[in-house]
Assembly symmetry: C2
């Protein structure tokens, strides 16, 4: 079986924990794994690594690759050179399988940012779906509604099939009254965004209903590279798989998902899946409360102290604090829109930015300077680079640094420091077994991440 | 006329903006001046600088002195060597006037952390009080209640005097029902904590009602120094001026305060005095809101985004975020108590700590190291010092540093750096006209503010 992970995302729903450049699927929601990583591992129950594609926007490509490499080397990552919604992404990934595989396999398409804990029941549902897919159906996974949710699309079933149902129609997000009718009716399911079908069937339906997409993917050439050519991709319409195919095709069936499922589409839904204390609170991190009920208080770094409040969500990150009413937590997207309009950096980036080699945190910024702490993981190294507008000064805090400066090597122990002059070729490296932490002071007339010339990079970023 | 400013304080009511080591009176509540500074300036309308004493706990002495020196050089500051409530502080300050002045002047005693905007009306009330004080009364300033407050003590008046009233009794903080009765009665006033009287009358009453205090202050010797001897002060009972004298003396009169008055005893009262926007919100700093009403949102540094909440107070400081219900904002003290029990540093200190020469901010701390930014004001210098357990490394970010290291001088420009070895005698100085900012990286087996040997200090801290 083949699998496609849709690993894009706008990062606005769980802001400020998620960001445009670090969306929900990259977050470690449950313990040690990100949603993307759990999704990948769930698929490994019925697909081999070489048959799983993660497709994502070019913006998230490096983070997606880095996270998946931690689980399994050699996985396949496709980068969309432009954001075009789900249909072009899915079509491009399916075409990859078409070109690189001999057989007309079944492919499952899954979002990367849903929480599913019961893998056994999920796998059981996949097996049922497979039986229908083998008969030529495009199978959608439906969630039996438990309450009249107005934030999801619904799928209406009619006739029963051996393992599921024929689909009568897809319907848009309903109003409250309609949602209540759907719930009562019993034949309506939430649209989970998980689909399966034969490669050939998907391609036939693309050819039939979205010939522009079909004609463009046929021009992609995966034989020599996994790169998706922007000159081809830019011609694709921006359209979801639901609109493009699922709502039009007559071959749609539905299986009811047996496992738990949560799309974590709001802070409220994250609150829902977390264990609560005796006051109905979810308290994470450095938090202290007095007379607080049914609230979600999250601290990433600093102390958060709350008194006499109910039903609130309060989230502290290094550079943004968000508080909202738990019952209207989807309105966080309005805050994010307002911040976007003000071009706030906090919409895009965290203060701590992850890189393939580790991460850095901006400490403070002033006229002509910027200070950072940089953490380089064992056996990792930054690219050989130079800057035209700034000098740098490094002080080692923890571990040991191997510094390459104008082709000479220096070993600097904790407490030691080195100057990196303007335009000098340099690289910070950690060939040792412990994490390396340094303070970097950048000085110059123009200080920006884009003032970088890379000469050599083990992560292919030259 | 003489004046005494009571400049102690526990810093818990406006936490996290105030701290144990940086209480409310030091905060800049209104624009550019702290409450302490405004209090001092208000007194200058009827007292000369050499007749105004600020008395404070030894913990706050340096900050109080620094703030008052900005307004007026050569003001008098007394430091209580132990916390003993208001009576011993007031008695010690009155005794200072007794020993250093020829005349039996009238002295006014004012808290340092109240907000009074109308200085003219305040001065008018002082004049009325003075007439009564000259007749031998101890005058208390009463506030005409506008609602049944349960958080203040009350003063009951009876007989009318030329400019005020005779006081029948002082009463403790009442319950709601009693407070309503007081409000209706019309003869009850809030106890503002502002008092006046002749030096001789205060001392007579101390001798009569608190002879232990009286006998101890007589042993103080201010002729040669303003130091209050701990061996004398430690014998004082810990008691408030209300309990010690005001509730016992038969010479008490009350004048009704004509000006505005707010004790800023809670976040709610701070909200009360701030101008509000059309939604009833007070928004300060980097704040964005959507559908927020009647709330007080304060950001000191990072972005604070709030959605769909009403009647909340949310305060962001560098190292602590506090959220509470506006109607129960006095409960912040419960949070502070809980934090004290956990020995949280955020109760005592800010992340940014003010010093006579400028300030420093801790950036981050790890195993064996600490990084800070240090800002040295123009013409200021840190003491000549050494450390037994840590080396330091300084990188200049802004301005220019004069570094004294083992008796040699080095001038370091922005971008430059210097190592301060373990045990080396050193001093960071800024003899120039611009602020100096550096990053300091401390490395060592024991990193603490108390690892310091001072050899020479222009602020007298050796």
């Amino acid at each position: 079986m083949k699998a496609i992970i849709l690993a894009g995302g706008s990062g606005s729903r769980l802001w400020p924990l998620s960001r445009e450049l670090y969306p929900k699927q990259l977050l470690k929601i449950e313990e040690d794994e990100s949603l993307l990583q759990s999704t990948y591992e769930r698929l490994l129950n019925f697909a081999n690594p070489q048959d799983i594609i993660a497709i994502t926007n070019i913006k998230h490509h490096s983070d997606v690759k880095t996270q998946l490499q931690k689980i399994c080397a050699g996985n396949i990552n496709l980068a969309e050179p432009a954001a075009k919604n789900t249909a072009p992404a899915i079509a491009s990934a399916i075409e990859y399988f078409k070109q690189t595989s001999e057989t007309d396999d079944i492919v499952i398409i899954v979002p990367s940012d849903h929480l599913i804990k019961n893998t056994k029941l999920f796998t059981d549902t996949v097996k049922e779906g497979k039986e229908l897919a083998e008969k030529g159906y495009l199978v959608t996974f439906g969630i039996k509604p438990t309450y009249p949710e107005t934030g999801y699309g619904y799928v209406k079933t009619n006739e029963t099939l051996c393992k599921g149902y024929k689909v009568e129609k897809f319907v848009e997000k309903p109003d409250k009254e309609t949602a209540e009718k759907y719930l009562k009716d019993g034949n309506y399911y939430w649209n989970s965004g998980i689909f399966m079908g034969k490669i050939s069937v998907f391609l036939e339906e693309f050819e039939k209903y979205e010939p522009v997409i079909f004609n463009n993917i046929k021009q992609l050439n995966y034989k020599t590279s996994t790169n998706i050519d922007f000159s081809i991709y830019k011609n694709m319409p921006s359209i979801s798989i639901d609109y493009a195919i699922m709502e039009k095709s007559s071959k749609i069936a539905l299986v009811s998902l047996k496992s738990d499922w949560n799309d974590l589409g709001s802070w409220q839904s994250l609150y829902d899946v977390k264990p609560k204390d005796e006051n109905g609170n979810v308290l994470q991190g450095n938090v202290i409360t007095d007379n607080v009920k049914n609230s979600f208080i999250y601290s990433q770094k600093e102390l958060v102290a709350v008194s006499g409040l109910e039903d609130i969500i309060l989230v502290e990150t290094e550079d943004a604090i968000m508080a909202c009413n738990r019952h209207n937590s989807q309105d966080v997207k309005i805050l994010v829109e307002k911040l976007k309009a003000k071009s706030s950096e906090t919409v895009q980036l965290h203060k701590t930015v992850f890189r393939p080699w580790g991460y850095y945190t901006c400490l403070n910024r002033g006229e002509g300077y910027l200070t950072k702490t940089i953490c380089v993981m064992p056996k990792q190294k930054l690219s050989i680079q130079s800057h035209n507008h700034r000098s740098e000064h490094w002080v080692v805090l923890e571990g040991k640094a191997l510094v390459v400066l104008n082709d000479k090597e220096y070993i600097i122990e904790a407490g030691g420091s080195i100057d990196i002059p303007l335009k000098a070729k340099h690289s910070l490296q950690n060939p040792y077994n412990d994490e390396l932490k340094i303070v970097e002071v950048q000085k110059g007339d123009y200080i920006s991440e884009d003032d970088i010339i890379r000469y050599n990079d083990i992560y292919g970023r030259v």
